[in-house]
Amino acid sequence: MIRINCPFCGERDHSEFTYGGDASIVYPALDASEEEWHDAVYLRENIRGMQSETWHHVSGCRMWLVVQRDTVTHEIRSVRAAHEDYAKLFSDPAEEQS
């Protein structure tokens, strides 16, 4: 029963979203080596604490979001648009979820 403060739609129940994955992964270039791709696709930290993850507001604005969430308490520290240009549209205070 997490609630996510979507920068585009406001605070919504997590049932409107789908979980994406680890937002800290930088996917390699398409022509990068098999090893680089292997690491990006399969290697994950199992974080106890604050984690950066992607969520898709699939039943809302369809935007992908980067959410800082504590895996122990579900506390959400921040939510921003994953797309850099959209993220820039919002001033800093709006990024922080109270």
Binding site: E34, H38, W64, H74
Partner: protein, 1000 residues
């Protein structure tokens, strides 16, 4: 001995009688009764048989912790097993019966189990039937599975109705500033205090009315205070929800509530739901959930006539039922004295056993001249009598432990082993309760996520202290939300935990060394003190393991009765203190939640969303029989008079190959891919080249996942320099859309591409067969656009149908025939179908459904979602030539990993029966002829009768592909349906392999 209704008093309406049936016998009670109080008033003693040993059981409590009077309520489709008689409100015409007994709870054949009880100790089932590790398939486990049904039958709880649930259930959402759980003195005070600060407050109470412990107390001043509080709450605008249980607490102040709407009504309004399942979100929460009185383990402590002390008092004061005439009250703390006094005043002969050496002077004074005989240093040792208690062997404290000091006659034994604050909901939030040694109970009094405890739930015992504790919590919640102290009230501090004049004497078990006893810890699951000790001897040290091994705390009361005693016994066996043993974590639900409430309205056709195409009604009007394809309703077949489904789809398939067929393909996913970088984007996500796709052409494409497995396939049409129309499979439409959005927003934000789902905007029909061009020529405004030169294979045209209906047509084929897909804006769907159908009929064409669509594509070896199940590489699907060697794309790096390019991976094949008159089923396992076992060598994903080939054919996967099986014999094994067919493994392109018909 007898329990009886006393002449006056109680919160029942004596002016009115309610008739009910108990085990086929007619009985009566009053409005305000529970089933338990009415049965008690009728002096019914044995109401149930225990789970394992079939021991007789009576009423043990007056609340949710009930572990004795577990009964079946209702008849027919409304038969509800395992109902706590203490929680079932009485209504006129209620039908209830005992369960887990034959022929009835009073004479029960199964009670012979108690004679062999030493064989049924902890872990007995595991040890005997499950075989020893490793559980060999088909051996130990198989034996267990064979015995299990008999054991379950012998042990079993009640049985639910096999009929569909006739009742309706609702889901709802609630929001408030403050949720207060529990309507006793603390909860009412908390809600009132917060409401006076202007908070929007919801107060939930599982009982039918507010009051909590006040309902079980005696005296007119008690009722005066209760009504004062209720009135004040109503005036303050608090939303009061009775018969509503907060069964779980979740993240972000979310609570799950179960509201019982009609279970207490004789004739509910048919438009009312039976239960409402509320999701409530509160900024602050106060738990005023009270405490539960603990039992003590001693020999036969589960005999009918043994109940907790507060229950004895509540039955008297709330229901006007004196549960016995000759009463022993056994306690180790102050709380039971008031109970002894009340029962004595009502005319019972009362003996008080106090395990403590000394009694507080004020309590002595209170019971002073009432004729209550008090025995200190005394405790219950063994209850005598079979179907109800007749006497109690009393233990006196000895130099070490206990000694027997004779028998006392009694017909009711009321026990108070101390109180356990109800910390369950806080436990749901991951808060571990801490042991308070002074009060011998677990408490959680910390503030956590805006959740506060108050009253007995935090270990505050006295009624007036509970009120203050509630007020303090209510004010604190208001201040946490920023409310000012404008009420003029000075902010209260909660009284400290405790409040008894003399400390409790921790007492969990009374026994004499080397004397055998049957002392129940968890009566509902027949877990005894010996079971706990046995588990310890066998090496179980973790509480969580102990719980699972003995099933302690796993019955429907969720450990409310037995957990603390179990922990105490474990601590004793391990030679440590209770907090060192740990505590088990309580999980939702606090009390059982009906399956109906969980599903709410999501049942039958509302079980999941339904999607209809814009030509749904048109299809129905033209004879379609519909079927489900994912969420979609799609035409399955169009039977003519007298035709079976098989006859219909074979005719549709034949007609399509011979002349022309029309099929609703609207459910395919459709995505507009637009923008200056759209071409680059498509080139990255598809395995085959898209960079040079000309405007006015379509291309079949395959997309992989990052890990190199196939995600989806479909055609993408180039409409202009910057505008593409992508189609996906019906099954993966949503997934592909989310994937494209993810790529554009999280990885490639530099690409100037916009994706929009247009699946609902365009209605589509396949026009397939040799006459397809003729049909379309007759339908388009300008027939010349349809000529082979103007409109070659894989061509795309944006044009108009007659009557200026805008349309998009691509010459693509799923059927293997010369074929087109035609899309029009959704509102034009019926008009398009009318036009196409008229022209198709003119050339003796037909409509076809999913079944024929499947036949056509299986004949051609075209894959769908059944084949692209996420485990398939592009080579496995026989589409390796679609993977470009000259570019990189999503999945290109990882698809070349050694395991993914092995020659012996299962690959797409066609399957023929050796004997052409035989058939097989989808799901059949393909095996070597001489080796029909295990997972086999492959599997069949789709089966059809092929009119073109004249026999049954299949599509599927087998190790190495069809070339590896040229000289090998294979069988299709279908062990579930006991079918075995010799098969021939062939190329998946079973019909027209060179595609002449498609290009023609």
């Amino acid at each position: 001995m007898s329990a009886k209704r006393i002449a006056e008093g109680g919160r029942i309406d004596r002016s009115s009688m309610l008739q009910f049936q108990w085990d086929g016998r007619s009985m009566s009670g009053h409005p305000g009764d529970t089933l338990a109080s009415a049965l008690l008033a009728s002096n019914e003693k044995v109401l149930a048989r225990s789970f394992k040993y079939h021991r007789p059981r009576g009423i043990m409590s007056c609340g949710v912790e009930e572990s004795g009077a577990i009964v079946t309520v209702g008849e027919g489709a409304r038969r509800d097993p395992n109902v706590k008689a203490t929680m079932q409100e009485l209504y006129d015409g209620l039908v209830a019966s005992g369960q887990n007994a034959w022929p009835n709870v009073r004479q029960d054949i199964g009670s012979v189990n108690s004679l062999i009880s030493r064989f049924l100790s902890a872990g007995f089932y595991y040890k005997t039937f499950m075989g020893l590790p490793p559980f060999e398939t088909g051996k130990g486990t198989g034996i267990w599975m064979w015995y299990e049904k008999f054991i379950r039958k012998a042990a079993g709880m009640g049985t639910a109705s096999r009929e569909p649930d006739p009742d309706q259930y609702e889901h709802g959402h609630l929001f408030c500033d403050l949720l207060v759980v529990g309507g006793g003195p603390a909860g009412m005070s908390a809600a009132l205090a917060a409401a006076e600060y202007g908070l929007e407050v919801i107060l939930v109470e599982q009982d039918r009315e507010l009051g909590g412990d006040l309902l079980g107390q005696q005296g007119s001043d008690v009722e005066t205070r209760r009504s004062e509080l209720v009135g004040a709450l109503e005036n303050a605008g608090v939303k009061i929800m009775t018969r509503t249980t907060a069964f779980g607490l979740y993240d972000y102040g979310t609570a799950g509530l179960l509201e019982n709407v009609t279970d207490h009504l004789a004739k509910p309004n048919e438009f009312l739901p039976r239960h409402r399942f509320w999701t409530l979100r509160a900024a602050q929460t106060i738990l005023a959930t009270g405490g539960l009185e603990r039992h003590i383990a001693f020999d036969n402590n589960d005999r009918p006539g043994v109940m907790n002390a507060s229950a004895g008092r509540t039955y008297l004061n709330r229901y006007g039922v004196l549960a016995g005439e000759q009463v022993i009250v056994a306690t180790n703390n102050d709380s039971a004295y008031r109970c002894a006094l009340d029962l004595s005043s009502a005319g019972a002969e009362v003996t008080l056993l106090d395990a403590r050496a000394k009694v507080p002077p004020r309590l002595l004074e209170m019971i002073g001249d009432q004729g209550i005989s008090l025995m200190t240093n005394s405790a219950p040792l063994s209850a005598k009598g079979l179907n109800s208690i007749t006497s109690l062997e009393v233990a006196g404290s000895a130099a070490s432990g206990w000694r027997s000091k004779g028998q006392e006659d009694c017909d009711l034994l009321l026990v108070s082993g101390g109180w356990s604050p109800v910390v369950n909901l806080m436990s749901h939030r991951g808060v571990r309760p801490v042991w308070n040694a002074e009060n011998a109970c677990f408490v959680t009094n910390d503030i956590h996520e805006g959740i506060r405890m108050s009253g007995s739930a935090m270990g505050v015992w006295h009624t007036s202290d509970c009120e203050d504790s509630g007020t303090a919590a209510g004010e604190a919640a208001a201040k946490a939300l920023g409310a000012s102290t404008g009420s003029g009230r000075s902010v209260t501090a909660s009284p400290p935990i405790g409040g008894w004049e003399m400390p409790i004497k921790p007492l969990y078990e009374v026994k004499i060394e080397n004397r055998s006893s049957k002392a129940l810890v968890d009566p509902q699951h027949d877990v005894t003190t010996e079971d706990i000790r046995l588990a310890h001897r066998e090496g179980f040290v973790s509480v969580e393991h102990l719980k699972r091994y003995t099933t302690l705390g796993m019955s429907t009361d969720g450990g409310k009765m037995g957990n603390i005693i179990g922990l105490a016994l474990m601590a004793e066996a391990m030679g440590c203190e209770i907090p060192d043993v740990g505590t088990t974590t309580f999980r939702p639900p606090y009390t059982p939640v009906s399956i109906g409430a969980l599903r709410g309205r999501s049942v039958d056709e509302h079980f999941r969303p339904l999607r209809r195409t814009p030509m749904h009604d048109w299809n129905l009007a033209n004879g379609a029989t519909m079927t489900m394809a994912g969420l979609w309703h799609r035409p399955w077949y169009f039977a003519r008079e007298g035709e079976t489904i098989t006859e219909a789809y074979i005719r549709e398939t034949e007609t399509t190959r011979k002349t022309v067929g029309l099929c609703d393909v609207t459910s395919l996913g459709k995505i507009a891919v637009q923008g200056p970088d759209a071409t680059e984007f498509l080139n990255r996500i598809y395995t085959n080249p898209f960079a040079k796709l000309p405007i006015g052409k379509a291309r079949y494409g395959i997309m992989l996942r990052d890990d190199g497995f196939v995600m989806d396939d479909g055609t993408t049409w180039r409409l202009s320099e910057t505008d593409y129309f992508m189609t996906t499979t019906t099954a993966h439409a949503g997934k592909v859309m989310a994937w494209l959005e993810e790529l554009l927003q999280t990885r490639w934000s530099d690409l100037r591409v916009h994706v929009t789902t247009v699946s609902e905007q365009w209605a589509g029909s396949a026009v397939a067969g040799p006459q397809s061009r003729a049909v379309l020529e007759a339908c388009v405004t300008d027939p010349s656009v349809m000529s082979d030169d103007a409109f070659p294979f894989m061509g795309v045209r944006e044009t108009t149908l007659k009557d200026d209906i805008p349309c998009r047509i691509a010459r693509i084929s799923f059927s293997g025939e010369m074929a087109y897909e035609v899309y029009v804006p959704s509102d034009y769907a019926p008009a398009m179908m009318d036009m196409l159908h008229q022209e198709a009929t003119a050339v003796e064409g037909c409509l076809y459904g999913l079944e024929a669509l499947g036949a056509l594509r299986i004949e051609k070896g075209h894959v769908t979602g059944a084949e692209l199940d996420g485990r398939v590489t592009i080579e496995d699907a026989g589409l390796g030539k679609m993977a470009s060697a000259n570019k990189s794309y999503i999945g290109s790096a990882l698809r070349k990993r050694p395991e993914m390019v092995r020659d012996d991976r299962p690959q797409l094949v066609g399957i023929f029966p050796k004997n052409k008159s035989e058939k097989f089923n989808a799901g059949t396992i393909l095996c070597k002829k001489e080796e029909v076992s295990g997972l086999g060598e492959g599997w069949i994903t789709g089966v059809t009768h092929s009119p073109a080939l004249g026999h049954w054919i299949g599509i599927g996967f087998i190790k190495g592909g069809y070339k590896a099986w040229e000289n090998q014999q294979a069988v299709g094994a279908d062990p579930v349906r006991s079918n075995q067919v010799e098969v021939e493994i062939v190329s998946p392109h079973m019909y027209d392999p060179t595609g002449e018909r498609m290009y023609g």
